[in-house]
């Protein structure tokens, strides 16, 4: 009814809380950049292939690398305020453009993985809760623990062996058929075929978490009074499970899903290198290989901001889902 002011209050609180964190992350980022071996002048001199002491000194002068650290920090902050993350000599383009190019790929991969993880995790968790303590529960619980223990990059390679090499059903890497100009439905199917394996490899770990979480939350909700009331009204067990138990068990799961954005970004780094998926993770890997620290720290900064954004979205979503949150 009057949910709007409540949500506005939650939004204000979230933003106020995020500000010191953002400042802290930016400063940490700057010092990490300072710690990195070699500065931008070294990197550019290496790219150019020839540089004398004098040109290096001139370059440092020009980019302000010989200024005191505090001045450099101010310059860095000033650049950030203009959304400039620096310049990558390797790709000879600004880091923010480079990241902007790769971000959509990673975001779609993460969204797909999250969807898969939630779908399978909720299903398995509900099954486990329905058969709590019996054989299906034990079996699924062992499987979910197995998923939890498998490194994403390894299961990625094994899925390639099974589905691309042996069975030949799905492509082993890339993000679309090269040189094809498919559009509409055929284009979507083509994209999805390339996305299934990476998204599954990324999702498996989270399937396990959501399954266990759903199970625990459902068992907790199951014993509450309103569930007994629902049964007493004569509702069928299926309706009670889906509409009363699962729905209330969803709240802790949305919290966790928001917290997993950072973890998924990290997982994407590895999975993208396995499937040569053109995303942030692959860019991070290339930056590591080329010792391109400006790009690497740009990715770190941007992905932290992404995590803060995701947490804010979850906060707001929960305020909207559960009227009891944010009353005060």
């Amino acid at each position: 009814m009057s949910s709007l002011p409540r949500i506005a209050r939650a939004l204000r609180r979230t933003v106020l809380q995020a500000i010191p964190t953002v400042i802290g992350i930016v400063i940490l980022n700057f010092f990490l950049l300072q710690l990195a071996p070699g500065d931008a002048a070294d990197a550019m001199a290496a790219e150019a292939g020839s540089a004398t002491e004098e040109t290096m000194a001139a370059m440092r002068e020009r980019f302000g690398l010989n200024l005191p650290m505090l001045d450099q920090l101010l310059t860095y902050l000033n650049n950030l305020a203009h959304f400039s993350l620096g310049y990558s000599p390797r790709y000879s383009m600004p880091v923010s453009d480079l990241i902007g190019q790769r971000l959509p790929g990673t975001l779609t991969l993460m969204a797909m993985a999250l969807a898969i993880a939630l779908l399978i995790g909720l299903t398995l968790g509900s099954l486990m809760a329905a058969f709590a303590g019996r054989l299906p529960d034990r079996l699924i619980s062992i499987f979910s623990l197995l998923f939890y223990s498998v490194p994403g990059f390894w299961i990625g390679l094994m899925l390639i062996v099974l589905f691309s090499v042996t069975l030949g059903w799905l492509p082993s890497g890339g993000s679309g058929t090269i040189g094809s100009d498919l559009s509409g439905w055929a284009g979507i199917v083509d994209k999805a075929r390339y996305m299934v394996l990476p998204a599954t490899s990324l999702a498996l770990f989270y399937v396990a978490i959501y399954a266990r979480l759903t199970r625990a939350a459902m068992l907790e909700v199951r014993n509450q009074d309103f569930v007994r009331t629902a049964y007493a009204k004569g509702l069928s067990p299926a309706v009670v499970t889906v509409k009363h138990i699962l729905r209330n068990a969803l709240i802790p799961i949305t919290t966790m899903a928001g917290m997993h954005v950072g973890g998924m970004l990290g997982g994407a780094v590895v999975v993208e290198t396995v499937y040569s998926w053109p995303g942030l993770g692959r860019l991070a890997f290339e930056a590591v290989m080329g010792r391109d620290y400006t790009v690497l720290l740009g990715i770190l900064l941007l992905s932290s901001l992404l995590v803060i954004l995701a947490n804010a979205v979850v906060d707001i979503l929960q305020t909207w889902l559960d009227p009891r949150i944010g009353e005060l």
Partner: protein, 330 residues
């Protein structure tokens, strides 16, 4: 607190039996409702349970946890005796390349593209995985406990500052930060260990802080304070032992995730270049996954089973130390 929870049913049974045998003893106050909190404390006051014994029994009666302990012990023994099991440098070329597992009895798990023994690699690789896993956990746990204890015990502005720092580290995506740290510090066993500790301490600190805040308000802490105990003594001898159960469970899961992180790093070529590790074996086998998939499958299985064993131990410890959750399970 946890001891009373689990013992209550057993004592209730004993009480019921006594009541049936001596119905005339109703002059004594008899608690019919043993679930009432005061009844529980009176009933359990006389029962002394040696600390840790019951938890150990529950832990070792859990088949999953036993499997985990057994497998992990084998792995630890293997890593200790690696030079005896497969002497020589595992990075040396020993025979013809691309022997499949089972093709040559001398090399039961086959050889890779350079003619190196896969079994020797797995045996020696266990050293770096377990070392990094245990050392990073020990380091992360120490830092996390100290920070969390200080924040939770003192509160006030110290707490505010530390919570901010924890929050910053928790916002940075763990694995991305790990890659950045290792890339900047140049990969070696030591830097990988320290970097994993840096990304994993905030979780411990958060947990410790929450425990300390809850325990700080208890009567026995107040008693210790009124006796004039120093802060350090209260933190380490009064509060910490009571905050341990969740920390022990977390430690086993931390070792598992440290091993996973180390393997992912060395898979990406960010491991110690002079040591063979499971992740780097998968990384080098990756190019040949179409023809010789056993080169990636076998070291991967070693990772999966080691991590699974640790997670099973963590689950078993959780059941034994936090009975509240195990009641929900059964």
């Amino acid at each position: 607190m946890s001891t009373t929870d689990l013992n209550a049913p057993a004592i209730a049974l004993a009480g019921a039996r006594q009541g049936a045998a001596r119905p005339e003893a109703s002059a004594l106050p008899e608690w019919h409702n043993v679930r009432a909190p005061d009844a529980r404390t009176t009933l359990t006051a006389a029962v002394t349970v040696p600390p840790g014994r019951r938890e150990l029994r529950i832990f070792f009666s859990n088949p999953n946890a036993l499997f985990g302990v057994t497998f992990l012990s084998i792995m630890v023994l293997m890593s200790i005796f690696a030079p005896l099991i497969s002497p020589g440098d595992p990075l040396n070329m020993v025979t013809t390349p691309f022997l499949w597992p089972g093709q040559d009895a001398a090399y039961p798990l086959g050889t890779d593209a350079m003619g190196r023994d896969v079994l020797a690699g797995i045996v020696h690789g266990s050293r770096i995985s377990l070392f990094v896993g245990l050392a990073a956990t020990a380091l992360g746990l120490t830092v996390g406990v100290v920070v969390g204890a200080v924040a939770g015990y003192f509160g006030g502005w110290v707490d505010d500052v530390l919570v901010r720092i924890i929050e910053i580290f928790q916002t940075l995506p763990n694995f991305v930060l790990l890659v950045v740290l290792v890339a900047i510090a140049q990969p070696s066993a030591l830097t990988v260990t320290v970097a994993i500790a840096i990304v994993s301490w905030p979780m411990v600190a958060r947990l410790t802080r929450a425990e300390f805040r809850a325990i700080r308000a208890k009567d026995y802490v107040m008693a210790a304070r009124s006796l004039g105990f120093g802060c350090a003594r209260i933190i380490f001898t009064e509060i910490l032992p009571n905050a341990l159960p969740p920390l022990i469970v977390t430690a086993s899961v931390m070792v598992a995730s440290a091993i996973l992180m180390e393997s992912a790093l060395s898979f990406m070529g960010l491991g110690d270049p002079n040591v063979v590790s499971w992740g780097s074996m998968i990384g080098s086998g990756r190019e040949l996954v179409r023809t010789a998939w056993y080169l990636t499958a076998l070291p991967g299985l070693a990772i999966v089973f080691t991590v699974l064993a640790l997670n099973l131990i963590g689950d078993g410890l959780n059941d034994a130390l936090n009975p509240r959750f195990s009641e929900e399970r059964s």
